[in-house]
Structures are given as structure tokens and as C-alpha cells.
Amino acid sequence: MLSIKNLHAKIGDKEILKGINLTVKAGEVHAIMGPNGSGKSTLASVLAGREEYEVTGGEVDFDGKNLLELDPENRAREGVFLAFQYPVEIPGVSTINFMKTAVNQIREYRGQQPLDAVSFLSVMKEKVKLVEIDQSLLNRSLNEGFSGGEKKRNEIFQMAMLEPKLAILDETDSGLDIDALRIVANGVNKLRTKNNATIVVTHYQRLLDYIVPDFVHVLYKGKIVKSGGKELALELEAKGYDWIKDEMEVA
């Protein structure tokens, strides 16, 4: 589904990604871990098309399409979803209206008829249940005055509505207490199918107790320096990132 080859990216004059290689197949969950500043969030942002980052080399193929050539909205329409680390507050735009616009623009792109208000609401009700979000939140301005947990739940709700092929969760666990974490993780797990894939970007192993990865990759100084199964996450938790740093210095 996703094939990243030798990806380099910089922000301003600072090179952050220095040759990323990663292949993700349908049905898989990949965790990307690493110390602060290793480039985890940059990778997520570059995949979603954030403009501040300049790709200086490499390729990203997404189901046969050159992802790097697409505008952010077309990446979303092709099936990429980024759950933000810091979801943005937008006063005056309700989540419902925003999602209705998004769903229908995606449907238009895919040559489908727009959903009318009734069908949209019935889909929405179903997804609301799935991700355990309070429906009254969705009538309010997008994320405005939401708690950290409510914002992250809203991200997963949007993911449920858009049904992406590839979901990228950027530090979705940050700022969540254990109950919120469990609800968010449950939502993600319920949305998993054999046809979609998930990339979980996280600093801590904690989230991976709930969203169990098939593969764990360790990012350090802009490169994937170690890959393994879910046990790698536990090893990292036990030994800390200094273990990786030391190992890299020795090498």
C-alpha cells in the first residue's frame, strides 16, 4: 500500500529526514518510535502534505500513486488520514458541517453522489457510537474549548467518518489519561480491517498495549535504525532510548 524509499526532507535549512525506507501493507499496523527530535512527527507531516516541509529526495508510492505530487486534500481523498498531535481549534465551524463538507468533497472526487442530510446523519450516528464521542460536542465549533481527550476522540471520529486506507496517528497518546487512551485505542482497533493500515507514531510504549503493532521501527536522527516485532517496543521501554543512542554511537 505504502512504499517509502530513501525519503529526505528539511524545514528551512535543517534536514530532518535523512533517508527513510518503509513499506506498509494492507492489514498491518506499524509503530514508529524514537526519542524527541528524531523526525517522527516530520515523517507524519510529510506524508500528509504539510507545506512547511520540503522534500529533498526520495519517493513515496501510495497504491500506485506518487503521493508527494498530490495536494493535501487529494492525499486525503486517496485515503491518507493524519490524526493530529495538536488538533486545531476553528471557531465558527462546527464538526458536523465540516465533516459533511469533507465527506461530500471526497465522494465527489471518487465519482460518488453526495450524501444527503439524512444519510449523512445516520452514518454519523453509527460512527459516534463506535468511537464513544458525545454527540453534543459535534455541534460545537471544531475543537474549540475541547479537553485534550475530547480533541483526540474527535480525531478518531473524523477517521471513522472518512474511512481511510492509511491512518497515521501522530502522538495520539500525548496528553491522554488512561481512560481516554483506552477509548481512543478501542476506536482505532474497531476501525481496523484487512484492507486498511495504520501507522502509530509514539514516544512511549503505553499506547502499543492497546493498539498492538505488527512491526516496530525506531527512528533516530532522521533514519530508521532498528526494526522488529512488538517485543522491540517492550525492549525500548525497558532499556530507554539511550540504548539506541549508545548503540548508534558505537556503530
Binding site: 500528509a48 502534505g49 504539510r50 507545506e51 495536494d71 493535501p72 486534500e73 492525499r75 486525503a76 481523498r77 488520514f81 493524519l82 493530529f84 488538533p87 486545531v88 476553528i90 471557531p91 465558527g92 465551524v93 458541517n97 465540516f98 465533516m99 463538507t101 469533507a102 465527506v103 468533497q105 471526497i106 472526487y109 465549533s141 473524523q158 472518512l162
Partner: protein, 435 residues
């Protein structure tokens, strides 16, 4: 200083223009002559005038108007200037002259008439109030207006009268055959425990320049309410000076709504004097500017007595080479304890050539008050745009959503459903709302 000389010459030309337009009304002769004297003393604002620092109105008049000319006669009015679907009292003025055939006054329980008629019929109530509030010494355009107004609307609402039908005042400039200078004057008196909604709207035909100088004095008595809308959406040949001087007494409620959507140069002065207790005042303003439009909103809220509340929200979206100016003064006098006064001005600049100058000015002499102000100006939030795009929404839709949401807060403040729909349609189209 050549500029000063030019200004002075222009002031002299305008003074001569005013002199020719000192229309005859014995009751007001002294007032008018006095105002002309005051105008000559003040002269038109120059580049050093603090109140017109960012608004070169004198230069604009100089470039675009010949004050030796008189208005050409009117040939017609635009097709669709009225707001459809409102059951209302309608007064139409063409080049400042009342157009009886286009007007209809339906509410019998009130006195709505042209100011000229009111002076003839009911001299004392008019002369007791007119020119008592709008200070001719404070602004040369007010002096100009006071000296030479042609006509206007007199609204006198008796006590305990809730006027269901709003009063719509359409000002049309017919600049087909030549430039137009229209000078209008209104006087509104809202009786105790009464309520009225007034809307003024400005339109034109023709392609020549036209300048409207309009002053409204309003007295809102105890427990009375006034909703006062202005829709300024005329073409790029339109210049306007607009003063609303509102006098409020105990427990009165005033809401002003100023929507400046087009024009060449628009200067709005709104001055609310809160001379009583338990007053509530709201000033709402939206300026949606593009091209070469300049819109300048100067507002004053003067809290003179304790226990009153005022709130002001002005927002602007500046596109093209447009220019926004906001100046908000709040005075809280020493005896006005327990005052609550809030002010906010928010601006979005869509191009590098659009500008805004915003200045809050709070002068607070009382110590037990709650006052706040805030102003922001900047571009659309890129992170928010990216967030919307990352959900599959086109960039232009994302922009439109954010701008519409920004302006929407002011649309929400509009209480009258038909006026709200009317404004919503214009604003939606202007912001390319397609979601």
C-alpha cells in the same frame, strides 16, 4: 507646506458650496450660519489631523469632486435597491431629496416624516433636539452637515410603542449626469418603553462620483430600545461621511449594526453617550473590503453614570488593496462605577497590499469597573487551513469556510430574520461560500 495650502483652498471651496446650500428654514438659520462659521474655523482635515490620520478624506474629495458644481438633476433610480420581503415603513431619498412616490409610511402610531416637513409642522420638538447632540466643533463634516443638510428623516415614537414594522431608509445617489453631493440629517426620538428598528442603506446609479454626508442624532429614552442598521454596499464611486450620535437614558438598549461591504471611502463615526444607569449598548461592525475601498470606523462609548454595560465587536476582512481603520474609544467617567465595557476588533488580511490600522483608546477615571479590549490582525491561520485540507477539503473551500465562520459571528448578532438573510446572501457570495 503646500499640502496645507491646498487643504485650505479646498476648505474655502467647500465653505462656498455650503454657503450656496444654506437652505431657508427660519427656525434653523442661526444654527446653520453658526455651523458654517465653525466649518470655516476648522477647515477640512489635513494629514496632521489625529482623527483622520489614516483616512485622507480631503485628498479624496479634492481629487474627485468639483465644489463649484451643483448636483445634476436625477433621471432614475436603480432597479433593485430594496430589501424584499420586509413589511416596513419605507422612505426613499434621491440625491438627498425626499422621493414621495417611492416611499410608503404604514405605521400610523408614529410620526415618521422628512425632517423638513417636521420643522414646518412641529417646530418645537425638532428644534428642542436638533443639533443639540452632534458637536459641530468636533468634526468639520458635522459642521458641514449641520449648515447645509437638504432633508432627512424625523422619527418620533411616543411612549410605550413597540413598532413592529422597521423603518427602512434608502439613500440613492443618481450620478448619471454628473457628480452628486448629498447632505442628509436625521433625528430619532424613541419614547419611554418604546422600541424601533431602523435601517439605512446606500445605493446609486450612474458612473460619476458621489459623496454622502449624513448625520443622525438619536435620543433613546428610559427603558426604550433602538436597533440601528447600516448597509454600505455601494460602488467604487461612493464616498461617505456618516455620524450617528446617540443619547441614552436609564435602562435603554441600543444595538448598532454597521456592515460596510463596498464603496470608495467610508468614514463612520458612532458615538454612544450612556447618560443613565442600567443601560445596555452593543455596537457590531463588519467590514468586508476589496479593491481600493477604504473603510474607517471611529466609535465612542461614553459611560457617564454607574451600572451600565457596553460591548463592541468589529471585524474586518481586507482583500486587494483595501484599507481598514478602526478606532474605539471608551470613556468611563469618575462617577460611572460598576461599569462593564468590552471591546474587540479582529482583522484578517488576505493580501500583502491590504492594510489595517486599529487603535483601542480606553480612558477610565472610575476605579470599580470591568473593562477589556483586544485587537488582532493577521492572515488566515495556515495550520487551520492545512487541518481542513487534510480531511479532503479543497483549499478554496477551506478558506471560504474559515472566512465565513469569521464573519458569521456578526451575522449571528443580527436579530431581524429578513435583514439577516439579506446580509447572509451578500456575504456568502462575497466569500465564495460553496459548502
Amino acid at each position: 507646506m503646500s499640502l496645507t495650502t491646498v487643504d485650505k483652498t479646498k476648505s474655502e471651496e467647500v465653505a462656498l458650496w455650503i454657503d450656496r446650500h444654506l437652505s431657508s428654514s427660519p427656525a434653523l438659520n442661526d444654527i446653520r450660519k453658526n455651523a458654517l462659521t465653525e466649518f470655516k474655523k476648522l477647515g477640512l482635515p489635513n494629514s496632521k489631523s489625529e482623527e483622520y490620520k489614516h483616512t485622507p478624506i480631503t485628498r479624496a474629495l479634492e481629487k474627485n469632486f468639483d465644489f463649484s458644481l451643483s448636483n445634476a438633476s436625477s433621471k432614475g433610480i436603480p432597479q433593485a435597491y430594496k430589501i424584499e420581503g420586509i413589511d416596513a415603513n419605507v422612505l426613499v431619498f434621491i440625491n438627498g431629496i425626499f422621493s414621495k412616490e417611492n416611499s410608503s409610511i404604514a405605521s400610523s402610531e408614529i410620526t415618521v416624516s422628512t425632517l423638513a416637513d417636521a420643522i414646518v409642522k412641529n417646530e418645537s420638538i425638532v428644534t428642542n433636539h436638533i443639533t443639540k447632540y452632534a458637536d459641530i466643533k468636533a468634526d468639520p463634516f458635522t459642521a458641514w452637515n449641520t449648515a447645509s443638510w437638504t432633508n432627512g428623516v424625523f422619527i418620533n415614537i411616543p411612549d410605550k410603542t413597540i413598532l413592529e414594522k422597521p423603518i427602512l431608509i434608502y439613500h440613492i445617489n443618481d450620478a448619471t449626469a454628473g457628480q452628486v453631493i448629498a447632505v442628509s440629517r436625521n433625528l430619532f426620538i424613541v419614547g419611554k418603553s418604546s422600541e424601533v428598528t431602523v435601517l439605512e442603506k446606500f445605493d446609486s446609479v450612474g458612473s460619476e462620483n458621489h459623496f454622502t454626508n449624513i448625520v443622525t442624532e438619536a435620543v433613546v429614552n428610559e427603558n426604550a430600545g433602538l436597533n440601528f442598521y447600516s448597509i454600505q454596499n455601494d460602488n467604487s464611486k461612493h464616498f461617505q461621511y456618516n455620524l450617528k450620535q446617540v443619547q441614552q437614558t436609564n435602562s435603554s438598549r441600543v444595538n448598532t449594526y454597521t456592515f460596510t461591504l463596498d464603496g470608495k471611502l467610508i468614514r463612520n463615526n458612532i458615538q454612544l453617550v450612556l447618560d443613565g444607569e442600567n443601560i445596555e449598548s452593543h455596537m457590531y461592525g463588519l467590514y468586508l473590503l476589496t479593491g481600493e475601498t477604504l473603510a474607517d470606523n471611529h466609535t465612542v462609548v461614553d459611560h457617564k453614570k454607574p451600572n451600565s454595560f457596553s460591548n463592541e465587536l468589529y471585524k474586518g476582512i481586507m482583500d486587494g488593496n483595501s484599507k481598514g481603520v478602526f478606532n474605539g474609544k471608551i470613556f468611563v467617567r469618575p462617577q460611572a462605577q460598576k461599569t462593564n465595557a468590552f471591546q474587540a476588533n479582529r482583522n484578517v488580511l488576505l493580501t500583502n497590499t491590504a492594510t489595517v490600522n486599529t487603535k483601542p483608546q480606553l480612558e477610565i477615571w472610575a476605579d470599580d469597573v470591568k473593562c477589556s479590549h483586544g485587537c488582532t490582525s493577521g492572515q488566515l491561520d495556515e495550520e487551520a487551513l492545512f487541518y481542513l485540507q487534510s480531511r479532503g477539503i479543497k483549499k478554496e473551500t477551506a478558506r471560504a469556510m474559515m472566512l465565513y465562520a469569521f464573519a458569521g459571528e456578526l451575522l449571528e448578532s443580527v436579530k431581524h430574520p429578513v435583514i439577516k438573510d439579506y446580509l447572509n446572501n451578500i456575504i456568502s457570495e462575497r466569500l465564495h461560500k460553496n459548502f
